[in-house]
């Protein structure tokens, strides 16, 4: 995937770290909802929610990145993305803003303890570094 500097991203955070997803991959951003747990699924899949009549799976970036569980707060959001045929929700601590990056560097092997494969690249903003998520890997991580 060729990443151009002009593309718009939605930036969001978990703990003190910043991540981003291309804006065209994002369907909508909703508040945290009641999640119905499903047994026998991958540990980071939290369950399913009802998104206006559609059943949408929700996964937790915290669990995926092996971070500590944290009780949801007022700012917790579900970022609903469209990926291939699927609609999937990603739980994040907060959604910050829509942004562009002046420069994007390829990701190192590991980004703060997280597998570099999860990222397309590292974007530079005034606020600091932002990990741009590779949805293929995030959603289909084994």
């Amino acid at each position: 995937m060729q990443v151009t500097a002009q593309e718009q991203y939605v930036e969001f955070g978990i703990e003190n770290e910043q991540y981003a997803i291309r804006i065209q991959d994002i369907h909508e951003i909703i508040k945290l909802q009641d999640i119905t747990q499903i047994p026998n699924v991958k540990p980071y899949v939290k369950g399913v929610i009802n998104l206006r009549g559609k059943i949408v799976p929700v996964l937790s970036l915290r669990n995926l990145f092996d971070m500590q569980e944290k009780a949801p707060s007022k700012s917790t959001r579900i970022v609903v993305v469209h990926h291939q045929e699927d609609t999937v929700g990603i739980i994040v601590d907060r959604v910050s803003k829509v942004t562009t990056f002046s420069d994007i560097q390829p990701p190192p092997d590991r980004v703060g303890g997280i597998d570099g494969n999860f990222f397309v690249g590292i974007g530079f903003t005034k606020g600091g570094l932002v990990g741009i998520l590779r949805l293929d890997e995030v959603l289909l991580h084994e």
């Binding site: 119905t36 747990q37 026998n40 699924v41 899949v45 009549g53 059943i55 799976p57």
Partner: protein, 678 residues
Amino acid sequence: MSELTDMLAEYKEVFLEELEEQLQLMDEVILKLEREGDSGSVVQSLFRAAHTLKGSSAAMGFEEMKQLTHHMEHLLDQVRGKKRTVTPALIDLLFQSMDCLKQLKNDIEASDAPATDIGRIVKNLETFASTKEDEPLTVSVTGSETGSETLRPPLSLSDRLKIQEQQDAGHRVYWLQIGIVSDCVIQGARAYVIHSMLSEWGEVLLMTPDLESLEETLPGSLTLTFLYAGIQEEGEIRSLVTGLTDVACVTAELVEGNETAMAVTPAATGKAAAVEEASPAGKAKSQTIRVSVERLDHLMNLVGELVIDQTRIHQVERNQRRRFQDDTVSELGHISDHLSRIIGDLQESVMKARMLPIEQLFNRFPRMIRDLSRDLGKDLELVMEGQDTELDRTLIEEIADPLIHLIRNAVDHGLETPDVREQSGKPRKGTLRIRAAHEDNQVVIYVEDDGAGIDPAKMKASALKKGILTEEEAELLTDREAVDLIFRPGFSTAQTISDVSGRGVGMDIVRSHIEKLNGLIDIDTRLGRGTSFKIKLPLTLAIIVGLLVKVNGQTLIIPMSNIAEIVRVTNAEIQVVRGQSVITLRNQVIPIVSVHDRFKGEFRREEHKHIPLVIVGSAEKRLALAVDDLIGNQEIVIKSLGSYIGKVDGIAGATILGDGSVALIFEISSLFHKAGAK
């Protein structure tokens, strides 16, 4: 040209559907012919079916099929014309041709190029047709119809009524003459396209030459005549038609109101007869339409959404009523009530639209039984009942394979040969009874034979030999359980493996297939008297009645069709046998399965409370599910968890409840497979 290929691909679907129907019809009719001998109408309907196929396969460019049906038609014409009588040889030949046609159909389904060789069968048909007759017919029956007929067909009374109806509705009725350019590659397909476009803009009341008789016309121009009703002005419709590909010229003539009152003189008497003959079929067509299953599925989904939203509105209304007491709230109540009635009706209508009589499936059996009994040297009578029982179209497709398997088993293993039957004092002719019926919101299908029945001792011995059971286990088995061994994977009682049954697709596959459809299969057998299989299915796959239960604060749904009964027991009634909690219910020991561990919870036994147990069944097996609370039953719309989550063990899907939350639907059969594996 690519546009044409697209169109053809689209029509191929339609063509294949029609083909399926016609082939089934022909099978039926040939069987009837064999049974009852020649009566004019039987041969006539067979002839018509062959003719229809010939026309449509020619229009689609399937040369082999056209040729084959042409020869069949030719032969049938001789029978129709009393030049030939119905003999067993003729019936066999017709059946052979049918098999060949079916092969061609498979070829077409797989690709566009038929690979089946029709040379031999065509030759057989030809020789057959030319024997005994001094002068074989040289003129094919359709010969007179293939010419480009430009004359307007005569109007029958019903046609005139239709015109009147359209005019009363404020539509304009036109005679359209559409010339197709002479270098058009497949005129037949083009005619189909024009027909379908016209049907989109308005309604086609009549068409000549009709779609069925459109052959690969001789090079040259083809002129189609339509009687068309629509809202367009004369100029408008003309320019619409001219805009279509390959249209050379168009004339449109408005049919005046009073013209319909006059009888239009038939152009040619022969033609008139042909039209008259075709009119019953044409009439039937105008009353039904083909809709792709996808569209119906979509409709069903939308209704499902409505059902869910309605439950939510109802809940909101109830909440409001508790808080406020004013007119607005009671009005909301009225609206909500009305809405729920309408949605109920809508749901029923959509469900009905998806339903087909099981006849569709049953019709395949007579031919199958005929061949089977012949191959296996058995003499049997097939009795079918309840063909008009309706069930969801998807279900009919899904149940076909298991049912066919059961029937084959019954003929192969169940029914004895005539000699054996005679020795055991039964009539030489066996009976296979297939019946379908509605039983409280479910469909039940029985496959019953009056054959030898299943011998529990033989079952045990066979299972031992195959290593499915150990000696000890075998001794503990009751007769009932021994019979149920038939559903074990890897079990097949066939002494010799025939191509009829015993090809490794065992009864376990049949059972799991049925359970996948939220159904149940049950077996009842009496040694020497026969065996009866009972299949219970829900009416539809999309909406089921489910029991809502609470487990660890989460609402779960158990499909009603899996539930045998619900009991409440006290702690004292629960016994523990070898570490497994069980209860005894009418002398049957039922293991208790806690649902909680699947949801990372603990089953808290509260001493003072009765524990609700939901007894679920699969065949004769029973399991008791311990739940925290019973909420009640409700119609629910099954939704899949989506491809992202995929198939989850133990979960059949999910639904959205009245409060907007998602509830999971239990897959009961997986519980049994788990329990069986232990």
